[in-house]
C-alpha cells in the first residue's frame, strides 16, 4: 500500500531541508504534524535515516545544477538588453 499523501510527504522530505531536520529529530511527531495517519506513519518506522540525508542532498544538487543554465540564460538576455 501507498498513498498520494505519503508520496507527497516523501517529496517534501527530499526537497525541504528544514522538514527533514525536524523529521530526523522526531520522526513520528513530524509525520503526524504533516497530516499522515497511523498507517502511513507506520511505514516510516524503520526508515533508512542515512539514505534520506544522502537522497535529499543529491536531489538538492540536481535542482541547483538545473537552475544554473536558466540563470546563465537570464543573465545573457539581461546583458544583451544593456
Amino acid at each position: 500500500m501507498s498513498t498520494v499523501r505519503f508520496e507527497r510527504f516523501l517529496a517534501r522530505l527530499y526537497t525541504d531541508a528544514e522538514l527533514l531536520r525536524r523529521f530526523l529529530a522526531d520522526p513520528m511527531s513530524t509525520a503526524a504534524r504533516s497530516g499522515l495517519d497511523d498507517t502511513e506513519r507506520s511505514w516510516l518506522r524503520d526508515v533508512d535515516r542515512a539514505g534520506l540525508v544522502f537522497a535529499s542532498e543529491s536531489f538538492g544538487r540536481k535542482r541547483a545544477s538545473r537552475r544554473q543554465p536558466l540563470l546563465r540564460r537570464l543573465l545573457s538576455l539581461f546583458r544583451r538588453r544593456l
Binding site: 508520496e7 517529496a11 526537497t15 511505514w43 542515512a50 539514505g51 534520506l52 543529491s58 536531489f59 535542482r63
Partner: protein, 306 residues
C-alpha cells in the same frame, strides 16, 4: 582443453553472427564531434528527450538527418511514470511532439517519480515498492502509450535511500511492474550495481528475479562514493553520477545478462560530464562488445557433467 576452448569460441562467434547486439553512446553536446567522427564504431545513439522539448523545426530536422545514418532511440527523465498521481496530459503532449518528430526506434522512461503535485524533486526518486505503485505505474504507462502510440521501455533506477514504505524487494517490484504495465525493461547495470552495493543484495539474484525475456536495452555508466555523517556515524553510498568510467563489476554483469537473454541487446554507454578522450570512450564500447561476446559464448556452452 584447447579443443573445448576453440569450440566455445566458435560457438560465441556463431551466436554473435546471429544475435545482432549493438553498442552505442548517449548523445551529449560536448560529445557531438567524437560521435559524428566515429559512427563506424558507434552502432546506435540515444538522445535525451528533454533536450529536444523546445527544439526548433530545424534542430529536429538535424536529428532526422542523424537518424538517416544511425539508429536513434530517445530516453526521458521527466515524466515520473512510477507515481500514484496521473502523469499530466500536457507533459505527454510535449513528449509526443518530440517522439513524432524524431521517429526513434523506441522510447524509454524511468521507474521513478519526480514530483508530487506542485513539488518538483529535481531528479528520479524511487517510489515505495508496493502493489499500489505497481498499479499506478501501469496506469501511467497506459496513458503514455495512448498519447505516444508506443509503450515505453522502463528503466530500473539507482536510489541512495531504501524507498520508505516498501513492501517488496526491488527485483519483485520491477518484475511485477513490467508485467502490470505490459512493457519491456531498459536494464541499467550501474544502477543495479550501485543499489546492490548500497543495500547489500546480490545483483545476480536480482537478475534471477526479473523476466530476462523482457530485457531489450542496457545502460552502462560509472559513479563515485559519497559520504555523510548521520547519527554520529560515518556513512558512505555509491552514487550513480555518469561522470566516471564504467567499473569492472558492470562489465561482469553485462556478461551475465548476455548469457541469459536470447534476443538482441542494445547497450548504451551514458556519460554526462568529465568527458574523457574519445579513445577512452571507444575503448569502453569495445569492452562492452567483449562482455556481450563472452556472455553469448557462455550461453552456448554445452552442459558439463560434474
Amino acid at each position: 582443453m584447447v579443443a573445448a576452448a576453440t569450440a566455445a569460441t566458435d560457438a560465441a562467434e556463431a551466436v554473435v553472427a546471429v544475435v545482432s547486439d549493438r553498442v552505442g553512446l548517449s548523445w551529449r553536446g560536448p560529445l557531438a564531434a567524437a560521435i559524428l567522427s566515429n559512427l563506424d564504431r558507434i552502432d546506435v545513439i540515444e538522445l535525451m528527450l528533454e533536450d529536444f522539448i523546445d527544439a526548433s523545426r530545424d534542430q529536429l530536422g538535424g536529428v532526422r538527418l542523424l537518424r538517416s545514418t544511425t539508429p536513434v532511440m530517445v530516453h526521458g527523465v521527466s515524466l515520473g511514470l512510477a507515481s500514484l498521481g496521473p502523469v499530466a496530459s500536457r507533459r505527454l503532449d510535449r513528449v509526443a511532439r518530440v517522439v513524432d518528430a524524431i521517429a526513434p526506434e523506441s522510447w524509454s522512461e524511468h521507474l521513478a517519480f519526480v514530483r508530487a503535485g506542485d513539488i518538483e524533486i529535481g531528479h528520479l526518486a524511487a517510489p515505495p515498492r508496493t502493489q499500489s505503485t505497481i498499479e499506478g505505474t501501469a496506469r501511467n504507462v497506459d496513458r503514455a502509450a495512448a498519447v505516444l502510440g508506443a509503450r515505453p521501455l522502463l528503466e530500473n533506477i539507482a536510489t541512495l535511500v531504501d524507498p520508505p514504505g516498501s513492501e517488496l524487494d526491488e527485483g519483485a517490484w520491477v518484475r511485477e511492474t513490467l508485467s502490470a504495465a505490459d512493457t519491456d525493461l531498459l536494464l541499467d547495470l550501474h544502477n543495479l550495481h550501485a543499489n546492490a552495493t548500497n543495500f547489500d543484495f546480490d545483483p545476480i539474484a536480482f537478475l534471477d528475479q526479473i523476466p530476462m525475456d523482457r530485457v531489450r536495452q542496457i545502460h552502462i555508466a560509472g559513479g563515485r562514493w559519497v559520504t555523510h555523517t548521520v547519527d554520529g556515524l560515518a556513512e558512505r553510498r555509491l552514487l550513480d553520477d555518469h561522470l566516471h568510467d564504467v567499473p569492472d563489476p558492470v562489465y561482469r554483469l553485462l556478461v551475465e545478462v548476455a548469457a541469459r537473454v536470447s534476443g538482441p541487446l542494445t547497450v548504451i554507454l551514458e556519460r554526462d560530464g568529465r568527458f574523457p578522450m574519445t579513445s577512452t570512450l571507444l575503448k569502453q564500447l569495445d569492452q562492452a562488445r567483449d562482455a556481450l561476446r563472452e556472455g553469448r559464448g557462455r550461453a552456448q556452452l554445452p552442459a558439463v557433467a560434474v
